[in-house]
């Protein structure tokens, strides 16, 4: 189907893309490659190997394999991503988008504004809001009993909810756009067939917006992976290691224990996880474009 003209590389396009390519190489590929290199050295932030460091083979990797806290941290990271993304997008984001569709105009505007403002808040503000909400003396404890400390009792739940809260606006906007793609004729046809609203939703609406949902899940996963500040400010990975997701564990190793090499290796794991999700996202968005073309 492709012609000769499409097979030949477009040199003008390459030249125009060159600044972007250079920026990506210098600001992204270069530092990430350097981080991969550092992950296999014995470099420390301060100490005898701060300046005179060298490759130490697979020592760091061996330590990683035997580090029970790393495996815990990996598990917590996956839980955080899955709950924030899957639950956050499919339940909260979709519910909001559906409700907004049928809401009266002023309610739609007000709720939409509130949800988007929550999304726009910087992570530190969102963290402080949720910290104040969920600890002793905060809103929840005023309702449930003065000693109630939900954050320290269910830390992973609270930080997941905080993350869902701060990304719900984004999910709602994307899914609202996706819902608008569902043509009214299809829904009308379903109603004429006598299908219930729930049946119409499950059998007609959901399949049509399924690519949008999946790409949204992947995007929110990537956003959540980068959200170091929210958890760090709320719990700093605690209490104990209850919310010690990989970005926080990596920071702790590199910048508290000064084990920069090992911290870099942990950061490399985060990059690998992000790459997997990014690849899936690109695949999904490309296939959904082909479907709609």
């Amino acid at each position: 189907m492709t012609t000769d003209a499409q097979d030949r590389p477009d040199f003008l396009a390459l030249v125009l893309l060159l600044p972007t390519i250079l920026l990506l190489l210098i600001l992204f590929v270069g530092p990430v490659a350097f981080a991969f290199y550092l992950g296999f050295t014995n470099i420390r932030l301060i100490g005898p190997t701060a300046v005179h460091f060298h490759l130490n083979g697979l020592v760091n990797l061996h330590h990683l394999y035997g580090d029970s806290l790393f495996w815990l941290s990996l598990k917590l990271t996956i839980v955080f991503l899955m709950v924030s993304a899957i639950f956050g997008v499919t339940v909260v984001g979709l519910a909001l988008a559906l409700l907004m569709q049928h809401a009266i105009a002023w309610l739609r505007a007000a709720v939409g504004a509130i949800v988007v403002v929550a999304w726009m808040l910087p992570p530190i503000t969102a963290a402080l809001v949720w910290y104040a909400f969920s600890t002793t003396g905060g809103t929840l404890s005023l309702l449930g009993g003065s000693q109630l400390d939900v954050l320290n009792t269910f830390p992973m739940t609270v930080v997941c909810l905080a993350n869902i809260w701060s990304t719900a606006g984004f999910s709602m906007l994307v899914l609202s756009a996706g819902l608008r793609q569902v043509s009214s004729e299809v829904l009308e046809a379903g109603r004429m067939e006598g299908a219930s609203r729930w049946r119409i939703f499950c059998s007609l609406t959901l399949p049509i917006i399924q690519p949008t949902i999946v790409t949204n899940i992947l995007l929110v996963t990537l956003l959540s992976l980068a959200n170091f500040s929210l958890i760090y400010i709320m719990t700093a990975g605690g209490p104990g290691n209850a919310t010690d997701i990989l970005p926080i564990y990596s920071y702790q190793q590199a910048f508290v224990f000064n084990k920069l090499g090992y911290g870099a290796l942990l950061g490399d794991v985060v990059v690998i996880i992000a790459t997997i999700f990014a690849y899936l996202y690109v695949r999904m968005s490309r296939s959904s474009r082909l479907t709609h073309a």
């Binding site: 420390r44 932030l45 301060i46 100490g47 005898p48 701060a50 300046v51 035997g66 580090d67 029970s68 806290l69 600890t135 002793t136 003396g137 000693q147 400390d149 954050l151 320290n152 400010i233 719990t235 700093a236 990975g237 605690g238 209490p239 104990g240 290691n241 910048f255 508290v256 224990f257 000064n258």
Partner: protein
């Protein structure tokens, strides 16, 4: 079409560029005449308020530049908390172009900066310093690494017990209170719990929220008074993760939290757990506190964070006793901030003179009063300016300083510390945790992070 406006615009831009290049050149020439000494320090974490930070460091700059008109002191404040300061300094020192001539550095990290090759040994200068001889050996040893001295102390923190005088009188506890053993502390807390519900009987930091401060203001003030104060065994080069002493201290924590004598988790685990008691004591919400020497100064009218003119009538202070009252009778950990010079400084003699100026009596006592320190010098600590700044608190801070124990200057100390933080956090959050389980937490954590061959149990 463009030639109408772009040529004059281009001319203006070129002229402007030329002018600024010239002026930079001129400024560069002027700057080359003056020697520049750079001074890096914490902007927001060490002194009680930013105003005092500016006052002290600005004062040093003014004073030194007056005595040395051909020198400019360039101030480089570092924003952020404890970890941020260390991280920033570690990045600044990586290149001689950015390494500050003098830096304010946390005492536990001096040995690591020294082992990186970043610091200048000060021994030949210290031989001429009259004030150095008056530093107790423990404080002098803060800057020691492989036989040389790389830093000088500029203020210590130590710990003591604070208690609410009206509450004690109300329940019949003795005032002034002078506990002679750990049981005295626990028994007083138990009386408060029985007779004054709604008050927190005993505040002692636990958990990972405050980082190493959990130990500096809590655990490590009990361990030196126990049967085995050793943290790092110098003979075997191993970390002690189980010993009678550690079990005794964890037992104390277990008693506090299983009998519900302690504070709410939200306060204990919060990242402002270090300063929370200053306000909790002032609001009379807590009866007994394992606290730090800076409280008294905070309540004074000069510092005013918060202002508490009635502090001396309501908040009593007493040294922390050893476990059974055995010699030396007082236990406290000490740690603070030191001054270091860069190994790559172009002006070592001038740098030393600036350091010497910072260590004079007036500057050290101002630093102590404005940052909540105890001066290291044995004479300065007796001066009326220091003692009268926060009566009666500074006197007790001075009294306990000679018995102070520093944390092991070892790169892996923070790993041991984190293990202990997690153990105390587990005891606070799950009061049914046994001492055995708490010891296992320390042992597992340190073995996992380092290696099982680097830990030991002392009998």
């Amino acid at each position: 079409m463009f030639s109408f406006w772009y040529r004059p615009l281009l001319r203006t831009l070129l002229a402007g560029a030329a002018l600024s290049a010239l002026s930079f050149g001129c400024r560069g020439a002027q700057a080359a005449d003056k020697t520049v000494l750079t001074l890096a320090y914490s902007e927001t974490y060490v002194f009680d308020t930013e105003d005092f930070t500016k006052k002290w460091w600005g004062g040093i700059k003014t004073e030194f530049e007056k005595e040395h008109p051909d020198v400019t002191v360039q101030l480089e404040p570092i924003n952020g908390g404890y970890d941020d300061i260390i991280n920033k300094l570690s990045l600044l020192y990586r290149s001689p172009a950015t390494a500050p001539d003098i830096a304010q550095m946390a005492t536990p990290t001096v040995d690591q900066f020294a082992s990186s090759g970043y610091l200048l040994p000060l021994d030949k200068y210290l031989a001429t310093a009259s004030w150095w001889k008056k530093f107790p050996p423990a404080i002098q040893s803060e800057g020691a690494w492989q036989g040389k001295t790389y830093s000088v102390n500029t203020g210590e923190n130590d710990s003591q017990l604070y208690y609410n005088i009206p509450m004690f009188k109300k329940v019949g506890l003795p005032v002034p209170w002078q506990p002679k053993s750990w049981d005295d502390i626990l028994n007083a807390a138990r009386v408060i719990k029985a007779k004054l519900p709604g008050t927190v009987p005993l505040w002692i930091l636990a958990g990972t929220g405050s980082g190493d401060n959990t130990l500096l203001m809590g655990f490590n003030n009990l361990l030196p008074g126990s049967d085995t104060p050793t943290i790092f065994d110098g003979k075997t080069q191993k970390w002690v993760v189980d010993s009678p002493g550690i079990r005794e201290v964890l037992g104390f924590y277990h008693a506090v939290y299983s009998e519900h004598l302690g504070a709410a988790l939200s306060d204990l685990f919060s990242t402002s757990g270090v300063t929370a008691p200053v306000f909790l004591i002032q609001k009379q919400k807590v009866a007994i506190t394992f606290g730090s020497n800076f409280y008294g100064g905070n309540w004074s009218n000069t510092i005013c964070t918060p202002c508490w003119p009635q502090a001396a009538q309501i908040a009593g202070v007493a040294p922390i006793p050893t476990m059974k009252g055995q010699a030396p009778g007082i236990a406290t950990t000490i740690g603070g901030w030191d001054l270091v010079a860069s190994a790559t400084t172009k002006h070592p003699d001038l740098t030393w003179q600036l350091l010497d100026l910072m260590e004079n009596e007036e500057n050290q006592i101002n630093a102590a009063n404005w940052a909540g320190f105890v001066p290291g010098d044995a004479d300065y600590v007796k001066s009326a300016d220091f003692l009268n700044f926060a009566v009666p608190y500074n006197a007790v801070s001075a009294q306990v300083l000679p018995d102070g124990v520093i944390e092991p200057p070892n790169a892996n100390y923070l790993i041991w510390s984190r293990g202990v933080q997690e153990a105390t956090g587990a005891l606070a959050q799950h009061p049914d945790t046994s001492v055995d389980a708490a010891v296992k937490i320390i042992s597992d954590y340190v073995s996992n992070q380092l290696d099982p061959s680097q830990v030991e149990t002392l009998k």
